[in-house]
Amino acid sequence: MRVRSLLVLAALAAVFAVAFVLLRGARNPTTPSAPTSSATPSNANEPAPPPSTFGATPVGLAPDLAATMAKIDAKLDGWDTEDLSSRALGALKKVGKAHAHAGRHADAEARAIVAEEYAGTRLRPESMHDEPTAGVLRVRTWRAPGARPWEEVPARLLAPLGDGGLPLERRGADGFLASLAEWTAAFAADVELVVEFKSIHVELEGARFAMLARVQLSGAGREGRTQVTAFWRTQWRIADGAPKLLAIELERHDEAVSTLDGAPLFADATDWVLSNAPEAKAQLAQSADVASATLDRLHGLSFVGHEGLALGDADGDGLDDVYVCQGGGLPNRLLLQTPDGRVRDASAEAGVDVLDATRSALFVDLDGDSDQDLVLGGEGVTFLENDGRAQFTQRARFATSVVTSMAAADYDLDGDLDLYACRYDSTENSAPTPYHDAQNGVPNVLLRNDGAFVFADATVATGLDVNNRRFSFACAWADYDDDGDPDLAVANDFGRKNLYRNDAGRFVDVAADLGVEDLGAGMSASFGDYDRDGKLDLWFANMFSSAGNRVAFQPRFQTAANETTLGALRRHARGNALFRNDGARFQDVSEATGVTLARWAWSSIFADVEDDGLEDLLVANGYLSNQDPDDL
């Protein structure tokens, strides 16, 4: 028997680690809990105690929790596709890593996984399309004829290969080895490479298994720093439970090369920039794990490390400075830029070495005296006035909690800057529910600037209390409709986004009307004109989950959900969304532009990195790297 419900399905597509826990739980329901011993004492006249209300979860949950936790370590019994995916991916990784080592000795590993009847394509096209770039980064692309975006429901992955694409000319173990050599042809054989595989779609039928894999390779190439990004359609036969590789068909192959003579476009110069601020350097060198294993939680810190930064000219010398937020018990750091480009630590002298948990900060001139005041968001919103020489004094504090991102704008066009603060309240004991459209969060706030550092909560008065019980990570102001006042986009985790149109100081959520609800795990919001048509486009970063894509496209995943829900759940795994503003509506161009897959994305922004006049996109990502690299 199998227990299914939309909620379980939702959770499945959800946090995909949770998903597997639930998945396994759903497949093997634990025996019904033992009868609760009768509340009736021997004289049969006692009332049963009321249902337990103590704490967020009922007391006595422990055995279930332990059983649930155990499922994550168990073999994915029944979810053969997941089991096979991890085995097949593991086999490819082993070969790939061996081949990525200088010397390229993957002979043994390759022969161990390849079937004798292997018949695959070349793994590097003979010719690629040279893309027009500014020339700092050179890009070559190739697509198999008829190849579809990976985000689409795949055609049968197990269908015969070789029709329309490249010929299946690499045969047997030797052919497979030859194609591996093609794969790394952009690099000299004595160069160490970094290789990364992701399993995106899978299909299983009898003893045959297929997997669409994304394969990334990088290192010092023959022409410069090089990255190869490919999609391989792979087919396997299963012999004694072990997958044997039958074929790889190249679906897509891109190469990006830096022309900067070995140097990267972006050079990590952190050590240098902090070299005159030794204490800040010592503090910022340490993972959030260190403090969270050392300082009492009551100080207000979390190992999850949601701490941001603000760039702005704090001391009015014309050079940008940086303010780095830190968890509770660790001081935030004001690092003032010195003329040589490095920083000096002014946290204490400026009065902003704040120990309170701080997630975000903004440099904004709140009183019109031409200096950048400072707003801190965390367990409260704190307004500090700048005296013009980077001496800060607290002027106001708005009592609230769990503030994430903040953004300032003059929404009422009264000449001063108001502040929108996102909030996100979820703990280990309170899951956002339902997963795909959670609305059990805490409301975000709009703080209207009434002058002289007086701020009033204008959330309700402006209509921003609509769709405002979500789990909000990020917000961005921009006048997307060109009517002269700033509108507001809000990225919510576990559900739908908001786009609040500003109608003379009153807000209407038009996200659904304009097509930008963007069901997903939203982490970041920003506006920019990527297509240079003069209208501001909208860029939301979301979580991408390869596991979610695999699971959500399996036939057995579809059994209980209707198409709408299924679509919502699949969408939750897809990743980022880029919306083109066409003047009336927003068009989802994420798949056509090729920007969905950026893993577990956080701050994601427009930036013209080559100065060619085109807005590029940068994504900071990754959730929780731990001692145990075995990923949930």
Binding site: V3, L137, F266, F303, L309, G368, S526, S604, L632
Partner: protein
């Protein structure tokens, strides 16, 4: 494939469990989308982007969070600042694009309070007609603010035709004659761009990630407020059960050092040796030592030998899995992610069994001396922990631990007994209830209310009364709390007090409230007023078809007055509502028996015995029903079964069965 839900399967609960299980795995050290490399997508200009992450160098495997841009060094290219969860917490990327590319940087200024013109739109029109648009934003991305300076890349040969600004409010202004490769200030109404001075010093950055930083010592953890570790179970080597926080007969103010060790850990051996040699010094400090072996049964002898080898003069025992599981929850109360258990681990507890200092690693007697002196000198509160880096608090955390939250952590972490032990010790200052918020009072009420039920279920109605009284102290007007207290008092025979509590509840609840009606009926029964009790149960049973207790008690009372035929219907109802309840099944069996339906009575008694196998009366009744139902073998079997339970009753049964004509 069936979709029939199973009893006890609740999707919402499964989801909540899955959620918590995931977090517990993460806290225990699992990665969750860890090691992911940051991404850069290059705009190809035709509606497509190319992944250039590794080629560009923007591909750190750290857990990225914030990301913001600025032309930090003023060379005309956008540099990046980002934060990460894992070290380093901040990364600065310098953009090294060749100087051949052209650029323009624009700062805006306008009169009024929004001096930097947040919300203004800047449009750079190039000679070839291309339009580059930026809107001045303060805050975008995630937890990030980029520079207010608007940066425009112009390509290798871009010429600027004009720069137009739409100021907040909508007024437009066009600036002409702006040359590339410079920073300009556009002041509202000025009409012309003003060049900002170029940077005096050319920045020569050195690439290289953060290096040469000493790792912090994370071994000593000072709680901000003590953690009552009461109830953590350990056992002596003789098997005698103990718990942390139990009275030690020590002098008031004595601390207890609990050293967790294993037989194979060298630094443990070293520390145990020093502690063994320093008994006099520890006595002088007022510290009792307790060594607890974490070894499993197989290594237990080695653990004892380790202690014997150093002539351990202090208390000792074993800390088994329940101790370690509970300890982990206490550690999670102290630390957001404690990490693995260190060996040895030293817990310093105060006289009340509260953790006041934690050493995750060995501790010396000298260090202990310093610790104790510092603790003694600090008075009622713990000394404020030394922070690794100096700073100032806006709102310093109170040195107060939320014991109800801790109890919740323990209970939902699978240790309800620890939660209850903690709650039983929670002291509430006089007047605290009045000073608390309604939410805090409700939480205290719920906690104590549940404690009361837990104690009652364990048969300790004295403790239940105490707990229910404390619940009511938090929320004096709570009628259900008053009823729960009334029930416990009634079971203790304190009927007048029980009646007073029920009266108080009656004032707050509608008369037909089932819990109230039930308690009033039970009070009638307790005082021997069976007719009133039966009447009350009957009315309740009529109103509430699913109230098993009402039906059950109604049936019992009817049986009691000999109206077996009338008892049958309510008892049948009770037995069907509570099929797992041995009492309901047994009483139903009795009614069937009395109605002459012997064969039907047998399975009822059997069901009852399945849940309550050693209930002599039911065994006896089963034998009777079996015998009269013609199941002689089954009846005979019950004699032997009854023998060890109640010899007199067994004898009576034997005689009865023997006397029956065949």
């Amino acid at each position: 494939m069936s979709h029939t839900p199973l009893e006890g399967s609740d999707p919402a609960r499964d989801y909540a469990l899955g959620w918590r299980a995931t977090w517990r795995h993460v806290r225990a050290g699992k990665s969750w989308s860890g090691g992911e490399r940051d991404c850069a997508f290059l705009n190809l200009g035709d509606g497509r982007f190319a992944d250039v992450s590794s080629a560009s160098g923007f591909d750190s495997p750290g857990d990225g969070r914030a990301l913001a841009t600025t032309d930090w060094d003023g060379d005309g290219a956008l540099d990046l600042w980002m934060t990460q969860r894992d070290g380093p917490r901040v990364v600065f990327y310098r953009n090294q694009r060749p100087a051949t590319q052209r650029w323009l940087a624009v700062r805006l200024e306008q009169p009024g309070a929004n001096r930097s013109a947040i919300g203004a739109r800047v449009e750079v029109v190039l000679a070839d007609g291309a339009r580059l648009v930026r809107e001045v934003a303060a805050g975008s991305g995630y937890l990030s603010q980029s520079s207010l300076e608007q940066h425009f890349g112009l390509g290798a040969a871009g010429e600027i035709a004009s720069v137009a600004v739409r100021w907040p409010g909508g007024e437009r202004e066009t600036f002409t004659g702006v040359a590339p490769n410079q920073r300009v200030l556009l002041a509202r109404g000025a009409g012309a761009a003003r060049a900002l001075p170029a940077r005096a010093t050319r920045v020569t950055a050195v690439a290289g990630p953060l290096a040469g930083v000493k790792k912090a010592d994370a071994r000593r953890v000072e709680p901000l407020a003590p953690i009552p570790m009461v109830g953590l179970p350990w056992s002596g080597f003789d098997g005698a059960p103990h718990a942390l926080g139990e009275p030690r007969g020590a002098k008031p103010g004595a601390y207890q050092l609990v050293t967790l060790f294993t037989s194979t850990c060298a630094s443990c051996a070293h520390e145990l040796g020093e502690l063994a040699r320093s008994k006099a010094a520890l006595d002088a400090l007022g510290v009792d030592a307790l060594a607890l072996a974490l070894d499993d049964a197989a290594a237990l002898a080695a653990a004892r030998a380790r202690l014997d080898g150093v002539r351990w003069p202090h208390a000792s025992g074993r800390a088994l899995q329940p101790f370690q599981d509970g300890l982990q929850l206490f550690f999670e109360e102290l630390l957001d992610r404690p990490g693995p258990l260190a060996l040895p681990t030293n817990l310093l507890l105060d006289g009340a069994g509260r953790l006041v200092l934690l050493h995750r690693g060995p501790v010396s007697v000298a260090q202990l001396g310093e610790d104790v002196a510092r603790l003694r000198a600090s008075g009622a509160e713990l000394p404020r922990p030394a922070l690794p880096f100096a700073g100032r608090w806006i709102d310093a955390p109170a040195q107060r631990r939320d014991l109800f939250a801790l109890a919740t952590r323990l209970a939902s972490g699978g240790q309800p007994a620890l939660a209850h032990a903690l709650l039983a010790r929670v002291e509430i200052a006089p007047g605290a209830a009045e000073r608390s918020s309604p939410a805090e009072r409700e939480r205290a009420f719920r906690a104590f209310h549940e404690l009361g039920h837990a104690r009652a279920a364990a048969g300790d109605d004295v403790a239940a009364v105490t707990a229910f009284e404390r619940a009511l102290a938090a929320q004096p007007g709570d009628a259900l709390g008053a009823l729960a207290l009334a029930g416990a008092l009634r079971r203790l025979g304190r009927l007048d007090e029980a009646e007073a509590r029920a009266d108080a509840a009656r004032a707050a609840l509608p008369g037909e409230h089932p819990a109230l009606a039930l308690e009033l009926a039970l009070q009638h029964a307790a005082r021997g007023r069976d007719p009133q009790a039966e009447d009350a149960f009957e009315r309740l049973a009529q109103r509430e078809q699913d109230n098993a207790l009402a039906h059950l008690n109604l049936g019992i009372l009817r049986l009691k007055r000999g109206a077996a035929a009338d008892a049958l219907a309510p008892l049948a109802r009770a037995a069907s509502l509570r099929a797992q309840d041995p009492e309901a099944r047994a009483q139903h069996g009795k009614a069937l028996y009395l109605a002459g339906r012997f064969a039907e009575a047998v399975p009822e008694y059997q069901a009852s015995l399945a849940a309550r196998p050693e209930h002599a009366e039911t065994v006896y009744n089963l034998a009777l029903a079996a015998a009269r139902g013609g199941q002689d073998a089954l009846a005979a079997e019950q004699v032997a079964r009854l023998e060890p339970l109640d010899r007199a009753l067994a004898e009576r049964l034997r005689k009865l069965l023997a006397s029956r004509p065949r």
